[in-house]
Each structure stands twice: as structure tokens, then as C-alpha cells.
Symmetry: C2
Subunit: 170 residues, 2 copies
DNA sequence: GCAAACTAACTTGAATTCAAGATACCATTT
DNA sequence: AAATGGTATCTTGAATTCAAGTTAGTTTGC
């Protein structure tokens, strides 16, 4: 009950499996488990900053996607949900909420009558500008706990991994 | 619209920000964005294997936590939800579902009358044994696309990162 | 021209999750 | 022993998400 004073939560899980299933090589759980756990914890930390601006994580993601697309800050719903990895049903709901808050407007496309264009409003633009700066500062702060060389190495390895799994993914 | 033939989805996002907000150093978005995206894609890939055994991701997590705790495969709800990073309300719901499926049973604790012990049933044990082996094989397969040295490097860097953010996290 | 296949967006219903609060029990102090 | 504070679990209601199906508009092949 008090064996592992070194190591993190994932190490403890690996020790349990080594004891219970010594026949299995569970080493991939170390990498993948830490990755998932890092993602969850990072998400919590970023949400804390978003909340400061009255934004949830997905609201920030939506406004940021429109902002970085450049003038006229306008995208089709399909572009939004495919880049943000959510379904069309989720997008319908999100757009309704953001429109209700006045951060986006919607107008019919001239090229394709099926398509409605989503546009960042002036309010939405002003909000995301401020939130973005705080968010980037927060990310810098989070990574400042690591030596720059480690961050760079992590970057490279994650890019490799992403490349191998982005293909396969349907 | 067709500039970046090299690079992944995250590179494209960084290019957009460089164009729109050249005053900001958004490099942390590269690491953190890739990390989040890897986690989301890996989760999809693992869910595909779980589905093969009639399991969702969280169902696998629950049974696996009980299994790796060792005989008598018994944990308190509090131990479960704190290690799985969900709330107590979520745990109540999960336990109800798993009990309904016959994979766990519940019994009052003898030491503490507030506590009900969750126990893996024989069915649950048999199921997680099979699913676990497929899951581990799947994880090996996913990482086999990378050289072993890269995986090891990734492992080290993620452990560093996890150490710095596990502290701060309340 | 018109039917078949496809695409864009939305609707519906169910699943999952959390925050906040309620309830019951335990431990410690007085 | 009574009170206070803390712990373990559950309940409730709302938010978020997805899968599957719907509607409407577009494109292709004959």
C-alpha cells in the first residue's frame, strides 16, 4: 500500500499490471496512459483561463477557428465541425448557443443555397482577441516548467506519432 | 488554400496564427495541440477494440481498474472515481450500469458503513481478461508505426510533463 | 431533362458527464 | 455524550455530445 514513492499515477498502474499479469508487456500503457492523462490535465488548466473570459473550452475553440481563418472571419459549418473533430449535430447546437450570445451571426451562402456561412461578430472578435492572448500566455506558463529542449523533443515525437495515427483514422 | 502540402493539421493552424497574429508566439499551441489531437485519435482507435467486446471506453476503464487491483478485485467507489478522474455523480451512474450488466456486484463494507465495496463479478473478470489482451495488442500495434527509440523518448518527455502538471493540479 | 447519388445542415433521442446539494456516517474535541 | 467537522455516497438537473435519420439543394450519368 506504500511501495511506490517515486513515479506518477501511471507508474502505479504499470506496477499493478506487472503484478497481476506478468505475462503481458503493458509498456504501451505507459506512453498512451501518460498522454491521455496529460491531455486531461492540460484541458483543465486551459479551461480555467477560458472561464475567466466567460468562455467554455468549446466556445473558445469555435471563436478561435473563426478568428484564425482571417478576414472576413467566415466559415461554413462543415469546415468547422470537420476541423474541430465533432459531429454535425454537435455543431448545430454550438452555433445556436454562440448566436444566442451574440458572438457569431449567420447568413445564407450565395454560392450554395444549402450552405449558411458563420461569421464572427464584432463582439465575438473582441472577446477572442483578449482570450487568445491570455490563453497563449497560459500555455507558455504551463510549459515553462520544462527545459526548452524537452519541449522541443516532445514536439518532434508527438508530430511523429500524430503522423502515424492521422493516416489510419478513417 | 493550398499552401501546406507538408505538415499536419496542427501545422496548418500554426500557419494561420502566424499570418493573423504575427505578434504572438503561439509555439506552445504546437505541442499542446498535437498532444490533444493524439489523445483524441488514440481514444477513437482504442474504442474500436473495446466495442469488439461490447464495451465502451469507460466500461473498460472501470473493469480494468478493478482487475488490476488484484484479488479480491474489490474497491470503494471513492478509490475508483479519484483514480479515473471523474466525479462521484459520474461514478454512481457508472456503477448502476455495470451492476445492471452483471459485471460487478456491491456489498456493504464491514469497516465503514458509509462505504459500499464494488466487486468484479466472475463474468466481469472473464470479460476484462479477454478485452485486456486485445487492448494491449492494439496498443502495441498502434505504436509499432514508430521506431522503438522514438517511443522511449516520447515516454520520457511525457513523464516530465506529467510531473510538472500533476503537482499544480489542485 | 430527369433520376440517382451525393452533400450540407438540421432534428431527435439517448448517453455521458459534471456541479451542487443532500444524506448518512465517522472521528475528534469538548 | 454532544457537537463539530470531515468523509463517502448518492440525487438532481442541466450541459454536452453523438448516432441515426431527415430535409433540402447540388451534381452526375444517361
Amino acid at each position: 500500500m506504500s511501495e511506490a514513492r517515486t513515479g506518477d499515477a501511471v507508474d502505479r498502474i504499470l506496477e499493478q499490471w506487472a503484478r497481476e499479469r506478468p505475462d503481458l508487456d503493458v509498456s504501451p500503457m505507459g506512453v498512451i496512459g501518460r498522454l491521455s492523462r496529460c491531455a486531461a490535465l492540460l484541458s483543465q488548466r486551459m479551461d480555467a483561463v477560458f472561464a475567466h473570459y466567460g468562455l467554455s473550452g468549446w466556445e473558445f475553440d469555435m471563436l478561435a477557428a473563426l478568428r484564425r481563418s482571417g478576414a472576413p472571419y467566415c466559415l461554413a459549418p462543415t469546415e468547422l465541425f470537420s476541423s474541430l473533430m465533432v459531429t454535425s449535430g454537435t455543431m448545430t447546437h454550438r452555433l445556436k448557443v454562440l448566436e444566442g450570445k451574440g458572438w457569431i451571426t449567420r447568413e445564407a451562402s450565395e454560392l450554395d443555397a444549402r450552405s449558411t456561412l458563420v461569421r464572427l461578430s464584432a463582439d465575438g472578435f473582441a472577446l477572442i482577441e483578449r482570450a487568445l492572448e491570455a490563453h497563449v500566455a497560459n500555455e507558455h506558463a504551463i510549459l515553462s516548467g520544462l527545459p526548452a529542449r524537452s519541449v522541443e523533443a516532445l514536439q518532434k515525437r508527438l508530430a511523429e506519432l500524430l503522423a502515424t495515427i492521422e493516416d489510419h483514422a478513417n
